[in-house]
Structures are given as structure tokens and as C-alpha cells.
Symmetry: C2
Subunit: 79 residues, 2 copies
Amino acid sequence: MKATVHVMLKPGVLDPQGEAVRHALGALGFAGVASVRQGKVIELDLSGEDRAAAEDAVRKMCEKLLANTVIETYHIEIA
Amino acid sequence: MKATVHVMLKPGVLDPQGEAVRHALGALGFAGVASVRQGKVIELDLSGEDRAAAEDAVRKMCEKLLANTVIETYHIEIA
């Protein structure tokens, strides 16, 4: 079973990486980019066939390791 | 208009960051994680209403800056 986790900084949290990308895009001549936010995507290959159990396990992984829930939000997709 | 770009390492390209996450998950007691790949997600706020033009612009941004197409693949979503 495959799980995909998206981790993004919460709105309002300063994103220097995204800001650097926005600046670089402007320098390369791309106009009209109002803002850029950069996050992480983590793809996990899980053993087992129980979808609910997998989602539960991935949620625990996010809370413990994959995301810093003080400043980040996460979103889980099980495929 | 909002564009989301997913950038992942191509299959076969070594992913030490993903490997480190897999190892850490194992150390935390999460069994059954066969493999982990980590990538980037970039959210862009674009001005303009033309969907096709936006997708075209984002594709050029990916080729020029956002992805290293030698080792990475990208996927664009326009919302």
C-alpha cells in the first residue's frame, strides 16, 4: 500500500525557501508570481492491506516524525 | 490562480533523505515501511486567468529552476 504525505508550513509562518524561489523566478523574468510556498512530499511504501490501519499508522508517523505540528500542517493520501 | 508543483527524484536515483526517514521510522517502532521517497511540493500564486498560459509558464519555471530534470520528475496541477 502506498501513502503520500504532504507537509506544508502553516499560513503565517515565514517561508524563506519559498521567498527565495519567488525572488529567483522574478530574476529569471517570470512576472506575475505573487507568492510561493514550499513544502515536502513523502511517499511511503507500506506492507499490509488494511487501509484504515495504514492511515492510522501514517498519522502517528506524521505526529512523531514527519511533521512539526507547531508550524506545519500535513495531509495524508492512501492509494 | 494557484499552481501546485510536485518534484520527485526519478526512480533509481538514490534518495538519502528518504532513506534516513525510513531508518528513523524503524527506530521509532514503525514496522512495515518498505521504502520512503521524499520530494518537494511548491505552491505558486499566479496572477492572470488563462489556465493554459499559466500551465505553460509553470512548465517553463520547472525546466529552468524548480526541478533538476536530469534526476527529478515534476508534475503540475493548476487549480
